[in-house]
Amino acid sequence: MKGSTGHFLYVDLSDGLTNSFCPPIDYYSRFIGGSGFAARLFVERGNFEADPLDPEALLTFSLGPFAGLNLSGASRFSAAACSPLTGHWADSSCGGNFAPELKFAGFDGILVSGKAKKPSVLVISDHTAKIETYPELWGLGVEKATATLKQKFGKASKTLVIGPAGENLVKFACIMNDGHSAFGRTGLGAVMGSKGLKAIVVRAKDRNFLAEDPMACRKLVSELNSRIKESVTLSVMRENGTAANLEGGVHLGDVPIRNFTSNFWEEMAEALTGSTLSEKYLKRRANCDFCSVACKRIVEITQGPFAIPKGPGPEYETIVSFGSLIGSMDLAATCKAGRICNDLGMDTISSGATIAWALEAFENGDIGVKECDGIQLKWGDINTIIDHILPSIAYKKGNLGSLLSDGSVAAAKKIGPSSQDYNVQAKGLEAPMHDPRGGGHGLALTYAVSHRGACHVSSPMLFMEMGACYYPEVGFDYELDPLSSENKAESAVLAMALGALENSACLCQFADREISIPEWVALFNSVAGFNWDIHDMIKAGRRIFYLQRLMNHRYGLRAEDDKISSRLLTPAVDGAPAGIVIEFEKMRTKFYNLMDLNPETGIPSRKTLVDYNLEIEADIILKG
């Protein structure tokens, strides 16, 4: 088997032991890597009864077969565990530079269990690993901790680091790669923190990538890299980052405003869009390993209240989370808020969304100055957010920090039912910065049925609805109207399979749009030697989707949990989607039928499980 090393690292922090193991070889073609592989390993080795923050909880980092391949968009990887934020199976995807280095060091992933007696760092180099106690790092922000690690282990080493939020078990704490890329969603930084693991460092000497068919692989990669580099969409993203089309999104009604209460704010569109960021603050562009897209930003703000030194800049989600979502159109402030979140180690989406919920709760009188430690919360008051609220959350300081550090859903449960009306989430995960009412009705469906909750990268549905996908080989030749339910269930069936494939192969959803379905198959075959046809590949994607549903069933989720907040289904009051109703139930029912999902349990029939070769996994998962 090529593309992968065949070895995973197992780390028991309680015993201080590390060893490597070889997963069954069939896992690679059945579950690929990344999200799918992590799920299968959890079924084999995890404990569904363990609290996400108990030592027994299993945290997995898993690469795809293309990590280390010189292909734009191939340097991502997954982290997975039971989420402390949502209480069920979750994973998160991260770009950057760690994945290729880990592959070159000889591992396809890392499983972390136990709890270190003292704050520790896992140090990985060529085929070896050791746990080093490093208490002096504990308490440091991500930036300083990363710099310290680089000083000790060499500038070329790659790092995964948690910040104070992860140490303090904030339920939407993230894990940062070299201080810029993030495993942002679902609170996996808190899982790492609960284990006393401050960081993972990896350094590899060799940089060999072995493909099954090197000639075919080289030719295909060369073609794809050229196309990705020349792509008009991706060149726009190179120029102005992932927020390049924020302005267009505002006019479509896709960009949420004041906790999703509005879908149009014209002045904000130009103030926050990617070209404005380029003009005002961009110092240079940055990229994940091997990627020519370079959608990452390096920014500097030299003066004013939001001055920040040259360093990582915000991407689209961060700009909107700390911009229009909280009622601000101060671009410099979003840069600073993003930088602070990175340093504290907090997901910018859940941070912004939880704060937006609090702003609305305050406005509605559901929380008052007492719950807010004497602070008046106001829409657009980004100064208070930066100076007080973000640090309070990360350190769980005061009433407000305690209330918000478990996320908006838990906070609303504490405050009372009326405040749950303006939670904007699915399965306990705060919605990202795409409003399905404007961005596309199919997105409402995929938010609802995604295993991790409201997630725009669980599938390429957003791209399908905007017209950026054309896959006639698998029947996707629809010209979708974003503001309609027509053909959305059918599209979602394919979208969820493709999403599972992308998140398991650990390919970037931006670069991926330039790769056709036959080319995906050719990539898997030339790199990993799967010998697939298109049908086999789509089947693998759907198998992973079903597996993750089975796991969430074990965590107690049922069909009734495949829903999204009522706010996202209430017709917009302004902008392009004003007054249009999302036919959610119609789409969901059709999706369930097409996917053979039981309308009560939410899982597929035994026959379908057998068809997808999941009977062994189903027996293990469901017997408990």
Binding site: E247, A269, G467, A468
Partner: protein, 139 residues
């Protein structure tokens, strides 16, 4: 061609469209911000079927044919799809994905104009009407 009798018709319509768009303050400002030389290349429908818009230097100039300077952006498509596009009946992202529109160069400037396509379509339909081509208007 489905909408046009010959290659001169679309160019006449599109140049008139841009000349009228220049009269609209918002569109004029938007065009100036594009700050690029754009060649709209419909030569697949005839060798003279193209025009260019020069938005560089704080002015907007529109002329038929290919520009003598190297364009910053070339948009190649059929004259029929261009008609659909200016009528706001063609999803540009979808058209690019399906290779109905081929783009060379930076489309960043044009992206800023995308939200204004609705307004452009209104002006375009008025243009067609005034040119006596009401029958070409896509309902």
């Amino acid at each position: 061609m489905e909408f046009w009798k010959d290659e001169t018709e679309p160019i006449k319509a599109f140049i008139e469209l841009f000349n009228r768009a220049k009269q609209d303050a918002e569109l004029y400002e938007g065009l100036k911000k594009v700050n690029q030389l754009i060649w709209f290349d419909y030569t697949e429908d005839g060798p003279n079927c193209s025009f260019f818009v020069d938005c560089r230097g704080g002015e907007v100039r529109v002329s038929p044919g290919k520009p003598s300077d190297q364009p910053n952006l070339i948009m190649s498509l059929s004259a029929d799809d261009a008609h659909r596009s200016w009528s706001n009946k063609l999803n540009p992202v979808m058209a690019i994905t399906r290779r109905k529109i081929r783009v060379k160069g930076s489309a960043t400037g044009l992206l800023k104009l995308a939200p204004k396509l609705k307004k452009v379509a209104i002006i375009y339909n008025d243009t067609l009407k005034d040119l006596g081509w009401e029958n070409k208007i896509i309902p």
